[in-house]
């Protein structure tokens, strides 16, 4: 909290800053210096936009099949090959990647929403509100996530939205815990007390004063949760509880074609590589964001 001055000194010492800059600008500058995160960000943007652009340019429809071209390896006609009923795998892979990204986005949105709200209330109000939220978190921690996912997956799985909500249902905890901790800290800060003294209600204090100060770590978590969501979805697909056909996802593409790994390895390796690259970039991005938002982590903690 009093880090700002320390940090200013450090920046000055490094000859980087003379006049004060806004927090956002400082963050952006620090983020830009994190080369790996920057590269990841660019790759991520390129990858994700290709998921939407390639199917438009592709001459093949997602569900368009041609039984004369079954299970082909990569060729000029079909750069990623074709699947068991002769659908163009490049188009399908992009479509599957779209679904994976969509699931990651829904999970990020829903779990951030729920996690932030519950964490904020728990941290701000404490007492029984905190106890209730804490018990909800513990409830999900008591039984391992994969078990909950499996049992609920059979019951409620299937469509893309259902799978996304399932994953979100267990992903909000991390965010809730972080936000709760931050609120406990920040609510004692002077500026919050000042706001309270000025007669601001809890709603105003939570959303206008504390939350903006807690958004940094939440932002970091969003990237990590999205990455984890993509992996969880693929694991569900592997266990046979992913999205139902004709929808597909990166995870489903891998598990559908894992039998072909010795015959046409590209069918497994391409979606596998895309999935790994996506998650890798998201994690690097989160790492970079963390450093940029909280320079103290790169230095000695006092």
């Amino acid at each position: 909290m009093s880090d700002t001055t320390v940090e200013q000194h450090q920046l000055e010492a490094e000859g980087l800053s003379i006049k004060p800059k806004s927090f956002g600008r400082q963050t952006w500058e620090r983020f830009r210096r994190h080369r790996l995160a920057m590269i990841s960000f660019v790759i991520l943007v390129l990858l994700i936009s290709s998921f939407w652009i390639v199917p438009i340019l592709s001459p093949y429809g997602v569900n368009e099949y041609d039984i004369k071209d079954l299970s082909q390896g990569p060729s000029w006609k079909h750069p990623f090959g074709t699947d068991d009923i002769g659908r163009d795998l490049m188009t399908r892979t992009m479509e599957g990647a779209q679904v994976s990204i969509y699931i990651a986005a829904v999970v990020a949105l829903v779990s951030t929403g729920i996690g932030t709200l519950l964490g904020a209330f728990a941290g701000y109000f404490g007492k029984w509100v905190d106890a209730v939220v804490n018990q909800m978190i513990n409830l999900i921690l008591v039984v391992p996530a994969i078990v909950v996912l499996l049992v609920m997956g059979i019951k409620f799985g299937g469509s893309v939205n259902q799978v996304a909500l399932l994953v979100a249902a267990i992903s909000w905890i991390t965010i809730a815990r972080i936000v709760r901790g931050l609120f406990f800290q920040i609510k004692e800060a002077e500026f919050v007390q000042a706001a309270r003294a000025a007669g601001a209600g809890p709603g105003r204090i939570i959303f206008r004063h504390i939350l903006p100060n807690a958004m940094g770590p939440v932002l970091v978590q969003i990237t990590l949760v999205s990455g984890a969501a993509i992996i969880l979805e693929s694991t569900l697909s592997f266990l046979g509880l992913g999205v139902t056909p004709p929808n597909t996802s990166l995870g489903k593409l891998i598990s559908d074609s894992k039998g072909f790994i010795t015959v046409t390895p590209s069918r497994v390796l391409i979606p596998g590589a895309i999935l790994t690259a996506l998650v890798l970039c998201l994690n690097f991005l989160g790492d970079g964001l963390r450093d940029a938002l909280d320079p103290a982590t790169r230095k000695t903690r006092q």
Binding site: N63, E64, Y65, I67, L70, S71, D84, I85, G86, G153, I154, K155, G157, G158, G240, L241, T244, P245, P246, D256, S257, K258, G259, F260, I261, T262, V263, T264
Partner: protein, 625 residues
Amino acid sequence: MRTNRRLLGLLGVLLAFTLIATACGDDSGTDASPTATDAPATTVAGDDAPDTTDAPATTAAPASGGTLIWAHEQEPPDMALDDPNNNLTITSWIWRAMLEGLYGIDSSTSYYPQLLDGEATITDNGDGSFTVTGALRSGLVWSDGDALDTADILGTHAIITEGCTAATADENADCTDAVYNLGDRTGSDMITSIEAMSDTEFSYTLNAFFAGWKGLFDRLFPSHVIGDAATANDLFPEWTLASGDPIPSSGAMIFDNWERGVAVDLVRNDSYNGSMSPDAKNPGQAFVDGVRINFVVDTDAQITALQTGEAHVIMTQPQLAFGERLGTDSNITLAASAGPVFEHWGFNLLNIHLADPNVREMLLFLLDKSEVMSALYTPLFGDLLPAEGLGGTYWLSNQPAYTNHQSDYDGSQVDAAKAKAEASGYVLGDDGIYVHPTRGRLTLRVGTTGGNGLRELQQQLIQAQMLKGGVEIIIDNVPGGAYFGERPFSEAALAASASLGAEGDSTIWDITQFAWVGGPWPGGQTAAYKSTSGDNPYGYQSATFDAKADECDSTVDEAASATCYDELDALVTQLQPDGSGLVVMPLTQKPSFYAYNSAELSQNGVSPDANNSGPLENVQDYQFG
């Protein structure tokens, strides 16, 4: 620093704990070893087992011995055939190696006398009842040396029907004990009397004609050790007698050991009576010392196991990748046969669209069965099955009485389909899907139990075919096993079907896809379409069908009976003049898929699996060398 000492102490405790844990782990290893050594079944042929390696190593003569390893994904819940939910298939497949019956079923789906000495005869007593007379082969023995004689037939009958014979079925409603062997009571409960004239000669009387009489006593139980149903229910699950010995076998293998989660071991029956199957290449005792059924849950891992020699034979749900992977491996031989299982779509006639015969015909015009065949089956199974797909259900394409009832709809006939839709007042919408002024958009859900890759591909292919003719198909699979209970066979759906929509909820499902098992006597499925049946979800009720089904079931003459079933089949697979019929759209027979390591096996026991009998049907034939 005190902390450091604490840390060291902690590491010490952790280390000690893990050492104990490892020791326990090793214990389990050594626990298993004695059983492993006294059962030759656990040694891997061609591996480092001293007692079996000489078989593949010396190439001088076709050698006996070795342990056949069959990798399979399903572990039986237990060895009793009493709970259809727990994948009975695998249990009955293991039974094939251990128990034989009066008649067996060969690769052409016909009966052959197995324990019988020649054919049994059935005679009409003139009063509606029928008597079957036959004789066992002489000198038959169980694996424990006890004689296998007519006492076992009587005993088996007592076990199956205990307290529930035709005479007593009405007053004695509690037959729970006796039905441990599900399905097998059908026909057995029609037996009014049974007697043994000698050790080999027997006869039994049925209160009416039962078309599937040759299927009765398809497995005899050793009555000298299992006297009643309660004992059977008690001992079958672990297949072990109170003395600790396995239940005696009449088949080529004897149960030996079951390490749960890992493997079931069988050993050779040295007093095997020999197989009478026309498919059998070895009429005597088995060549191999034993069989180990390894449970490899992942089917792709089974392929890997086969390729690496960790398994010798697999028989599994075929997936397209298998053909490609194994087809290129010169050590592996693929074998497939037209199995008795067939895939079909059943229609909910209470659906607002499907109630219209024009819509049902439209779907058939749009469905291109031959395209499904050439895309999904030919690459894996070659031209084993008719290229046009399956057009009947009671008789399958490899049975003599089979006719293709749906040949009018062969191929993709988009124009004919559209004409049907337009005749019923459907108008093509902007998005290419037909819309009806009162019924709405022509959208139909098709569902099944999720997770079967080949079936899901089939659904997607048909979905794309239907789309060409303006029908939107939504795949509505439920993962796990919940589909049937939640959709077509839910209480509300069955109630709607029974009351033709007056009660219950007829909108739960539209089209259901599943597989049925046919056989030499196909009487079982008729119940699904009978109006009195509680298991008819289709909203189909036809007095004509009911009468015809009863007629077929009581037709004595085999040829006449076959024709009758064929006509019965047409009632549900073809559109009838009154607009009824066309309740079912058969798709294809499901081929059985085997693969075996032909580098290690010089002879295999894999025979065309016409009766869903599994890889142990001719287990005596397997030979290393």
